[in-house]
């Protein structure tokens, strides 16, 4: 009995770390440009697809190659996201309508999903982990669950350092607090925002690659990751990476519990109910200071 809960807990935290990573990648774009990039979910899936693609063409990689491939996947996705960020911000510089990003990021997400559908059809892809299952509490847990946790911790530490200790990171985290003051201070606003898009790509690219064996790699699976990442973001509080790191696993465990106890079709419902509840009770999230509420 307790073993079942232990499995739920470990897998939930592992999957939740993926949500935490997506939430952190939302955060860095959000604090620099106010944009919540909907396409992040499909970029994440693309990262996982790269793991699949490599195995399909070259066979299972050795450990050394696999480790080298993580930054490759991260950088490819980062480049894609930087291009997307550039296109997304184009209309923002000449149009009065500052909400166009809501549509363009969603459109990009749909385009990526559509291309994936054309290239590999409607079925989900399976990626086999190169690692053996790891014993935890006497059970065997697929290694990627644990590696997702490690990756979330890694990016958390890197982001906290970058955003608070380096001048560039400081500027990125300051931009959307007062964009006009940022411009007046001579900050290279667009370039910093593009950098933030790129960094968000490093995060989701590496996350997708590392967690490929435990996530659903399909043309239509991205929305679920976007939503769960968003739920983690809202619970943790927008702009708070600490919040995201804690909230992600909470969402993951809740989703696992729902899957095991109620059935997979209720997982989305549970996430939605968590989202609505937190927005109704504490819109600014647990660690956030800026409220979602606008009256």
């Amino acid at each position: 009995m307790w073993q079942e809960y232990a499995i739920i807990l470990v897998r939930g935290i592992g999957l939740g770390s993926v949500y935490a990573l997506i939430a952190m990648s939302f955060n860095i774009v959000k604090v620099s440009s106010g944009i919540l990039n909907f396409a992040q979910g499909n970029m994440f899936v693309l990262g996982g697809m790269m793991a699949y693609g490599f195995v399909a063409f070259f066979g299972q990689p050795s450990l050394g190659v696999w480790i080298l491939l993580i930054p490759v996947a991260a950088i490819v996705i980062a480049v894609l996201l930087t291009i997307q960020g550039y296109l997304t911000m184009l209309p923002l510089s000449y149009s009065d309508d500052q909400q166009s990003w809501l549509i363009t990021t969603m459109a990009v997400s749909i385009i990526i999903g559509a291309i994936l559908l054309l290239v590999q059809g409607p079925n989900a892809l399976m990626v086999r982990s190169i690692f053996a299952n790891i014993p935890v509490f006497g059970m065997r847990v697929p290694a990627p669950f644990l590696m997702a946790i490690g990756l979330a911790l890694f990016w958390y530490v890197v982001l906290q350092w970058f955003l608070s200790k380096t001048l560039t990171g400081l500027a990125i985290s300051a931009l959307w607090q007062d964009p006009v003051a940022g411009r007046a201070a001579g900050l290279k606003v667009r370039r910093l925002q593009l950098l933030a898009f790129g960094i968000s790509g490093l995060i989701v690219g590496s996350a997708g690659f590392v967690s490929a064996p435990i996530i659903t790699l399909a043309s239509d699976s991205a929305v679920a990751y976007v939503l769960n990442g968003f739920v983690a973001l809202v619970i943790g509080g927008v702009a708070s990476n600490t919040g995201a790191l804690i909230a992600g696993p909470l969402v993951g465990v809740a989703a696992m519990l729902a899957t095991f106890k109620l059935g997979g079709e209720f997982q989305g419902l549970v996430s939605m109910l968590i989202l609505v509840t937190i927005l109704l009770i504490r819109p600014e999230g647990i660690f956030g200071s800026t409220a979602a509420r606008r009256v």
Partner: protein
């Protein structure tokens, strides 16, 4: 249709002001779009039926149903400012309710319609509740997740819904031709389509539509006019769900079948994109959007079904990059850019009150009593223990440097921000804990430092929202002649052509027309020329003497203050440093050094 609408509009307008020329209900662009839109719907419905092309009848009917759903989603987005990515769930709930009622339980279609609309309204209520709390993309994500969960629930409750097998709904009698070769279904679809497009054109011009747009553009301004933004949102969700529900109930007979896979997130996204791609707020917009995103890909890519999402993602993306106002919106904007710039004639206030109107005796008592009020934002203290009394029927000047707390004081006074300590009374009634909307309804009208003139409303509608609101039981004393001549000036004017200085004056006129008996005016004279200032001073005196109003106004021009104010209060960094009649305040040694400066300006 169009002619009838205009006439009823004429009557309504004429009833307000016998002296002025009546305005047409719809502007030219909306009128033309409405006519074209109805023609398109009629032709598209009749031609395939006349030719007996079953494929085309089906696809056109479905396209019109989607147009209807998109129009109501657009109403939610444009008129009420609510982002819903989950409108497909509202539509799907209605369709499934019909499926369950008619397909599984054999009830008649009219009964199915009732169930369908009710189901849509239930989902609408579920969407409206978070909308009272959160806005913008947060709301978008909540509704998006609802749209994602909806088909999962259809699977989960398969005993109720038949799960993955779906429900077939054979309603052959609806598809049989009954009139000019048109089936009952085609007729219903056409009528609903015409009603929807007419609604999208006319709704912004109704009282409710105007209020909704104000609430969406500026919740503060809405509250100051006694409008509840929350109620407006709720009503918007109800209207949108009702309309979408009607569209949804026509889906099962058109397609003959409902299954969970038909109501995926894609449908919600289609509705949303149709509005954006076509052009927000353009009656023809959704027709253009659905044609481009649904109809054309379906006809030309019928064999290449898997390319459709690619087409519509790409179309939406390119339109946003190249024509941010949407296709129809872009055309309309291009046409307006070619119009000549307009000049607004100067406003004349001489006739605001009938000349026959005798001066009222000045009312007794205090209009406003502020006691020990304090307000801090974080560690910045905006108002520091202010005590201030304004007598009824007086003009009270509020002066002080920028940032000295004048606007913050007005905000506490009319309920926009809750004070940290102290009490505020209006006409003897304690309003400290009341909300802005409730304070407004006690007869307190106000204007804003940055004028709240809304480009979402026509020039005249910007003033009419004042007439719409009735903030006190005072009889309307503003002359009909004045209102009529104002309508003549503003009727043909585009809102963006109103110069900044005049915007403040229009906002002042707006609150006067609410019949409020206390006016809070925030820098009403900024940007006026010396001559206009003289006229404005005369207006303020008329409002006091002939309408018996109490006026508090924030002003930097001390000459203007000296000319009209009965009493003055001087603020400095949140504290009252002097208050009393103009002469004594001006000579106060504490005040003098503050204003040597401003006199130069």
């Amino acid at each position: 249709m169009n002619a009838k609408v205009s006439t009823s509009g004429d009557i309504a307008a004429a009833a307000l002001a016998p002296s002025g020329r009546a305005l047409p209900l719809l502007d030219r662009s909306a009128r033309i779009q409405l006519v074209i839109g109805i023609l398109i719907l009629v032709v598209a419905t009749i031609v395939p039926s006349a030719l007996g092309q079953a494929y085309w009848i089906g696809i056109v009917n479905l396209a019109i149903i989607y147009v209807v759903a998109s129009i109501f989603m657009g109403l939610l987005l444009v008129d009420a400012g609510q982002v819903s990515f989950g409108h497909g769930a509202v539509f799907g709930a209605a369709a499934y309710a019909v499926g369950i009622a008619c397909g599984m339980h054999g009830l008649s279609f009219p009964v199915g319609i009732v169930f369908g609309v009710l189901a849509a309204l239930v989902i609408g209520v579920l969407f409206a509740l978070p909308a009272l709390r959160v806005q913008w993309f947060y709301l978008g994500f909540v509704t998006l997740s609802a749209a994602m969960v909806f088909p999962q629930m259809l699977f989960a409750f398969n005993t109720l819904t038949n799960g993955i097998n779906g429900i077939s709904i054979p309603l052959p009698q609806l598809n049989a031709p009954i009139l000019f070769g048109l089936s009952a279904l085609s007729i219903m679809t056409l009528v609903l389509g015409i009603a929807a497009i007419a609604t999208s054109a006319i709704f912004p011009k109704t009282l409710l539509g105007r209020r909704m747009r104000v609430a969406s553009a500026s919740p503060e301004a809405a509250q100051s006019l006694g409008i509840s933004p929350g109620r407006m949102r709720f009503i918007a969700f109800m209207i949108a769900s009702f309309g979408t529900g009607l569209a949804g109930v026509l889906y099962p007979p058109t397609v003959g079948f409902v299954s969970p896979n038909a109501f995926h997130l894609d449908m919600s996204i289609l509705f949303f994109f149709a509005v954006i791609v076509g052009g927000k707020g353009q009656p023809l917009g959704t027709i253009a959007g659905v044609t481009l995103l649904y109809l054309l890909p379906n006809v030309f890519l019928a064999q290449l079904i898997e390319y459709r999402p690619l087409v519509y993602g790409t179309v939406a993306f390119l339109v946003m990059l190249l024509m941010p106002a949407g296709i129809v919106g872009g055309v309309v904007r291009w046409l307006t850019l070619r119009q000549k710039p307009q000049r607004m004639p100067a406003l004349q206030f001489g006739h605001i009150v009938d000349s026959a109107q005798v001066s009222l005796p000045r009312p007794e008592g205090n209009a406003i009593e502020i006691k020990d009020v304090r307000k801090a934002f974080g560690s910045v203290v905006a108002i520091n223990n202010v005590t201030l009394t304004v007598r009824r029927g007086e003009i009270h000047g509020l002066v002080g440097a920028n940032g000295s707390g004048k606007t913050s004081l007005l905000n506490v006074l009319n309920g926009f921000s809750a004070s940290d300590a102290g009490t505020v009374k209006v006409n003897g009634r304690d309003v400290t804990s009341l909300r802005a909307r409730e304070v407004a309804k006690l007869g307190v009208g106000r204007t804003f430092q940055t004028p709240r003139i809304f480009e979402q409303l026509s020039a005249w509608d910007n003033v009419q929202i004042g007439l719409d609101a009735k903030l006190s039981s005072n009889p309307t004393l503003v002359s009909e002649h004045f209102v009529g001549s104002l309508r003549d000036i503003l009727g043909p004017l585009r809102t963006e052509s109103i110069p900044h200085g005049q915007r403040r004056l229009l906002e002042v006129i707006r609150v006067i027309l609410t019949d409020a008996d206390i006016l809070l005016l925030d820098e009403p004279a900024a940007g006026l020329s010396p001559e206009e200032r003289l006229a404005f001073a005369a207006l303020l005196r008329d409002l006091r003497d002939k309408l018996g109003l109490t006026i508090i106004f924030v002003e930097h021009d001390l000459d203007l203050v000296a000319r009209v104010a009965d009493r003055v209060t001087v603020l400095e960094s949140g504290t009252v440093i002097a208050s009393g009649d103009v002469a004594s305040v001006w000579n106060d040694p504490k005040v003098k050094p503050l204003f040597v400066s401003v006199r130069h300006a």
